[in-house]
Symmetry: D2
Subunit: 340 residues, 4 copies
């Protein structure tokens, strides 16, 4: 039984706490948050849990095996490093860190100590994304043409990171899991509409080797909530709409057919294929539950998480490059490591 | 009665021909197209119309007052200049020309001769876009934050221009009419997925003075057809979905409220306002019919078309800059004239 | 070449006229309508067509082989009988007649003279309905449980028939084509909200042998237009939404599974199956064009139309029974002949 | 502080228990259910709650002031009567009882003892339904023409009541609250598709004085979930879609206009008005929380609940009449009391 301490009990922390309390392989032992009111909430919800205003008390507790860090991004690295130094396994809310340098330190420290470092890329554990990866891996889409995502809504403004770190991070984590290749450069544009606050509307293009192109539109300023991803391939195309209650993933037997004979390429003949649409039944599974069980299993069996520190770091590399491109009004910025 | 010759009888030409034949102030006199089969179609549809395989025959006909040029973009300038030199008023399908230099020649020639030069920015004549302009002009949206448009479908590949010239041109013409400001730089990214063919998926960001940001996603490679534009302002936000049969324009009483007192800006307090949604009834009016009537009226009364040559030229300037940015992987390219 | 006269040039007549003029096996010879203005429209649209204010002139024209009757329902029988007596083949707009007695006379007269009598049940010729019949015929749905249709909009009020004769008739014609069985009784309820006018909102239940149940909601008083049909079977279920531009027909691999062992039926165990959804690509075909070609073929080859007079009569029997039930506030009224 | 015992801890009981535990005026004191496993769940969820396998233990507990009965419909009356006789206030899950006779006994007993008897018509406490009532009361819709509701999904079969008692009951409770009039007769049709089980697909028409007509389509056998209600009036029409995450209530400025002059009524001129659509912002409020607070307030202040026993009884009268009509294949069955 893995004994877990949750650090940070704001918006997302209670969800992790609940899942740790329900997972048969973990027990929720402690919750840390500087706000006494939040701790009172935690005690009401989880009678018997220990609460503390300082994360240090968690690091100093020998009866805690693992911690979940659910705090503002800027604090991830310091907390995770302290936890690793105290010999705890670590699950970090996305994004892993607020800089590549920080992320590299975290990954190195976990490796040195042989501890599990995992990032909470929740979407990777959803039935929809797992199905999409399966379709891509099995070649159902053919050659990949593009990944295009719109992830917009009204709110919630973050204070310390721009909207790409808050919303596009989901797409980067999905792409890291689903697409085979890795982007080698990014171009981002955006704008802040509130003086002194981070960019709230942003567009991010990612270039891959070959003709695969990816793009994410992220916004805190949209009148409607949209969570729609298109993935186009030479054989089939996918529409993934996460707000659909059923039929989240639709597979279209559509595409273009290019006559490869030289005279026709010259003449520019492009044909269109239009066929059936198919919405596969998705298994009913809670992503967070799957993720927590995977975290526990990796700790118990010294396995490598699907969303390990390296995966988190690949995403941070993209976000850091994207932010640099944002500042340069769309100038393409190379990405050292790319995705997997 | 204005006697009109239509040059080019492919996909769009028949629509213009029909509207010229139905407009009480114009008469469809001649149709020119090099393809004899197309001319046979025209004669069947419009008994009595004169048909000819060369546009020159139209330019040489003294009983023709005006021409509509509905041919591939690359041919617009030469045909329009020849028509103007022959003393004809000219309506050109969008985009006005395939280069700024060409467009400038066309505008100058029309001015020199005192002839009407109009570009077929059809959307400007739709009830939906006219309502949106009215809402913007009357300050209903407050300060403009962004214009965001998705205009995607499967097909139809053009041979001579990239997808921005084919699809994003609609948004540029709408923005030219609706927004007060003008973009001073653009950043575009995209990809061609068919060897030897133009870019088929593209993303275009436009920077304005202040914090207004515009973006268009254009694609010939999407499994679903989308025509959705979001316009966000400080007071209200609009969703314009051209594929909705009713309720094309929805006005959301939503936005953010920023406490302007210095301590709160410092603390980063951003509030959200969420209110009613309102879908105004749109008048039933055919855009093309409105446009043709306006063309006739401008000729008769020596007026300036809403979508005159200058409007067409402003759009071409953006497209030319966007294409340069595409080639430079998103590098921001300044736009000399911007929109109106 | 079959020479056709169209009687009635109001809302629907021009569509039939156009299709007769475009069909390679028919020629539009004459149009009759008492309104001179409508005839002027017809001449403008179809140069060379003969026009006349009296249908009698059509019946008396030896160069006319067939007529299409596109007039108010109450006039169908007299016009069709006159046409048959004049030796013309007849296509009648739906519903075939305003009473079973009239319909029977029409069917008998056509049979006596060996002439083609066809009713314009347009939906039967759509790719969507043809696909649905194929799925039903091949047993893809299993045992049929229900047919449920909502066919509502704002307007258009008819003066001489209630809303079932105007809107539900479409569903009755689809059911006649798609379902194997025949209803043996109907129960209808409804209301007129305008003094002196026919019932404008109505609900019609149809009972079949076994457990198949059908229902139609028809209304001229709805704020939104809906055209949605659910067809449920023991193996699969269909949603047919005629307003969808693509994916009109969706097939759901859903249903219930009943454990047939006696103890479980006793315990009442009903399970649910939930599987994939599949939206087959429909061929692009114009229903009216298909129908007109079929009419011509039946005349030329002395074939029996899919929607022959008998089919029209079966639908009228249901409508007549439904109207009797309406008057009796839902009392079940037996139907002599049922559907096919 | 009102001390509450919850009887029945199946699907809905936990929701009521949670709300009693969170409401500041009530405390969750005990839970009774014959299934020991359910009681273990209750103890885990609500540490400190007393659990018991027999409802009698609740009735015999002097420290319990009120009970919530969340058990199969057939047991409502006996449990409620026992609770009232023990001096407890009672909240009963909908429908109030399985027969009018039972419901009348419950209402009489509560009245005799001066205890609060309330039925859990949850929809009445939702912001959407409250807004609709306000619009109706203020005459915004004009004269009411119809109430039409579709409430269908796959599952869940009940063993002891047909689908009207399970699903249509929601609409009857909404109608009882929203509409001014009362139905004086009902006509229902339906079918059971599983041998030995209750009717699973049913259609219910309700006749009111004047021209108001109501209809509900209820089904456990639909491939898609639909919760859509249309309410039409002479001035405006409403679409209430409970599955919409935002814009649940849309108000259409649409209708018909009838020229009242005698000659025009004679001519049958009906015009259509089409205007704006408006989706009012709904307050964010949890219906069950509102309901529980109202229950507590009625007990404390000896008030009459909005959904008192009489309201529950009016709904049961309709359900009983509907079931009789179902058995008679749609024969109209008079309703003694109607709605309020």
């Amino acid at each position: 039984m893995i004994r877990v301490g949750v650090i940070g009990y704001g918006y997302w922390g209670p969800n992790l706490a609940r899942n740790f309390s329900e997972c048969p392989d973990t027990v929720l032992t402690a919750v840390a948050d500087p706000r006494e009111g939040r701790l009172a909430d935690a005690r009401r919800r989880f009678p018997g849990v220990r609460t503390m205003t300082s994360a240090d008390d968690i690091f100093g507790s020998p009866d805690i095996d693992a911690v979940a860090i659910v705090t503002p991004v800027a604090t991830h690295a310091a907390l995770a490093l302290a936890a690793l130094e105290a010999g705890k396994h670590v699950l970090v809310e996305k994004p892993l860190a607020s800089s590549v340098a920080d992320g590299e330190r975290m990954v190195a420290e976990a490796a040195r100590r042989g501890l599990t470092l995992m990032v909470d890329h929740t979407f990777v554990y959803t039935p929809a994304v797992r199905l999409i990866r399966k379709l891509v891996d099995e070649g159902e889409l053919g050659d990949l043409y593009y990944y295009d995502s719109v992830r917009i809504n009204l709110g919630m403004f973050q204070h310390d990171v721009n909207v790409l770190w808050d919303l596009a991070v989901h797409d980067l984590s999905i792409m890291d899991y689903v697409l085979g290749g890795r982007p080698n450069a990014v171009s981002a544009t955006g704008m802040s509409h509130v003086p002194g606050k981070p960019v709230d509307v942003a567009y991010l293009t990612m270039f891959f080797e070959g003709t695969l192109l990816a793009h994410v539109h992220a916004s805190w300023l949209a009148p409607v909530k949209v969570r729609r991803t298109l993935i186009g391939g030479s054989r089939r195309m996918i529409v993934f709409d996460d707000l659909e209650s059923s039929e989240k993933v639709k597979v279209y037997d559509k595409g273009i057919s290019v006559d490869p004979s030289p005279e026709n390429v010259y003449q520019g003949l492009v044909g269109y294929r239009s066929g059936d649409m198919w919405a596969p039944q998705l298994p009913v599974a809670d992503a967070l539950q799957t993720e927590i069980a995977h975290f526990a299993e990796c700790i118990n069996q010294k396995g490598t998480p699907v969303t390990d520190g390296e995966a988190g770091l690949r995403v941070v590399r993209l976000l850091e490059a994207a932010t640099a491109s944002l500042d340069a009004h769309g100038l393409a910025v190379p990405v050292p490591g790319g995705l997997r």
